[in-house]
Amino acid sequence: MAQRTVAVASASGLHARPAKLFVQEAVRLGVPVTVRAGDKAVPAKSMLGVLSLGVVQGTEVTLEADGPGAEEALDALVALLSRDLDAEEALDA
């Protein structure tokens, strides 16, 4: 089992927009990934699941995946969570 723990960097945590970008990437990667925060675990491709974690900035989440492509998928998702996606939104606007 591949596993990574990362602190969420987005200013407002893992809510609608950063959560959506995260879920889109998880779907695109096509590798089943589980996200853990506290005692909850949800599939990374479930928007409602990810939102239900209630992750705020700085919260550590653990990503887990198995099988072919697991390491690469986790690297990509960790890279995404390590960025402040809200700051990028401000730049876009």
Partner: protein, 141 residues
């Protein structure tokens, strides 16, 4: 879910909208009418939606403003607007909009408790098919 967020007057169950923008404007107007947000918040909801879809699954979208629009929020609140005929939401069919206005610190916990409710298929279905305001109040407060 916090029980001071949803004013029964902010629940509309028999609406129709030609498109996503009209649906969001309606949600925004409801939030303005119950005194939760100032008028400019409605445009911020549209701006947010253009930036990324607020569709979350289960036929539900959660339109809300941009981070910059937080100052237009007078108090944390949600509204529930149901479109029995559905609204095309960038390829998804939306039957229920939960419009959200939440200030710093309130947004993430609010979303988490809403998501928790919608993850229960029976409760999500009850909300999608609600015809009485009391049914919505029961699920969301």
């Amino acid at each position: 879910m916090r029980d001071d967020l949803l004013d029964p007057r902010a629940v509309l169950l028999h609406e129709s909208a030609p498109d996503r923008e009209a649906a969001i404007r309606l949600c925004g107007r409801v939030l303005v009418e119950v005194g939760a947000v100032a008028e400019p918040y409605v445009e911020a909801m549209l701006e947010r939606e253009r930036s990324i879809s607020t569709y979350v699954g289960e036929g539900v979208a959660i339109p809300h403003g941009t981070n910059a629009s937080k100052e237009d929020i007078k108090r944390d609140a949600i509204c529930v607007v149901r479109f029995p005929g559905g609204v095309d939401w960038d390829g998804e069919q939306v039957v229920l909009c939960v419009g959200i206005a939440a200030r710093e610190g309130g947004h993430v916990p609010l979303l988490a408790s809403l998501a928790e409710i919608l993850l229960d298929p029976d409760r999500a279905k009850a909300l999608r098919e609600a015809t009485e305001v009391s049914q919505v109040m029961k699920e969301l407060t």
